[in-house]
Symmetry: C2
Subunit: 193 residues, 2 copies
């Protein structure tokens, strides 16, 4: 019987593909839990991302940091989501992004080599990731369109509706960096309610 921390991952897999108990156990055995404290950095720019990562509890963000020390938050992740610097993971190149815990969190990690071996043994798992990436692509595309077509105020309202569970754990300057505005301007927007 797997530990409680694996339950969200089991659910995540089972709601997407059908997989035997035996195969599932094999998969879970390759994931290691990692506990993160608030603000802890899971992956830094320059690191090579060697793991796929699933959020078993808590929340994280992925951000880019440019030469002028400006942050661009490109993704929030909450319990049940996957996070990674996928470019680094796929190409073995140094990461361009940081991944940071927004609150105390637990991620389940699987090494690239283990996952690729499992893909050969368990077609359902490969299907699982194929479907996950299809959906992730659709979600990102929609987010990109919203970003382009909505005003900063509308984007903020949409953000609040979507992330009401974790909003209070996220500093405003991080929200601003996700919305693509300055912290000062977010402050102005908030005062206009």
């Amino acid at each position: 019987m797997p530990e409680k921390v694996y339950q969200p991952l089991i659910q995540n897999i089972r709601e997407t593909v059908s997989i035997s108990e035996q195969e599932l156990m094999l998969v879970l055995a390759s994931f290691q839990p990692k506990v993160l404290s608030k603000k802890e950095i899971l992956l830094q720019k320059g690191d090579i991302s060697n793991h796929m990562r699933f959020i078993a509890d808590g929340s994280l963000r992925v951000y880019y940091l440019n030469e002028k020390a400006q942050e661009y938050t490109i993704q929030f992740g909450i319990k049940g989501w996957w996070v990674n610097d996928l470019y680094s993971y796929l190409t073995h190149q140094p990461a361009n992004y940081f991944i940071q815990a927004l609150q105390p969190s637990v991620v389940l990690q699987i090494h690239r080599d283990s996952l690729n071996k499992l893909f050969d043994q368990i077609p359902s798992l490969e299907r699982f990731f194929r479907i996950k990436f299809e959906k992730a692509y659709v979600a990102l595309q929609e987010r990109t369109l919203h970003r382009a077509s909505l005003s900063a105020k509308d984007r903020y309202e949409q953000f609040r509706a979507q992330y009401k569970d974790i909003e209070q754990n996220i500093p405003q300057y991080v929200i601003a960096s996700y919305l693509g505005i300055t912290p000062e301007f977010l402050s102005v927007l908030r005062s206009q309610e």
Copy 2:
């Protein structure tokens, strides 16, 4: 021996996964070519997208049209790329996007039902799409970041470098809708060289 129009697809698959000759033939047999004239609409908002589509020749664009008749071009596709309204394809819901040929083009289409059957028979094909979507996600994420972090002028220059082959086939108002600026402002940028 498959017809010439299938060559780009064969190459696209073979450079990503290893697949037997026999399996490949089975896959190709499910794709139907469709010839498009310039400006022809391949998929309209409201249609249900029932096919995966590969560009065997020419170029297309995917765009969103809002109530105020403003266009947002979210993707250009050239020979060797895949285009779709993936949301509609995956969910059987009406499309939100239009797909239009920028010049005379040929696409190879496979019906969702055929593709899903092939996934059961040919694990390499499922792997192919898993890898394609991983890469598509990375590319879209990078594009989204560029969009957020670069000025309109820099985005335009980047666009020109990336799409120099098809730039002359794309009206300026379409380029503007891809860059996220008005046609008037693009005109100003161009006069500043």
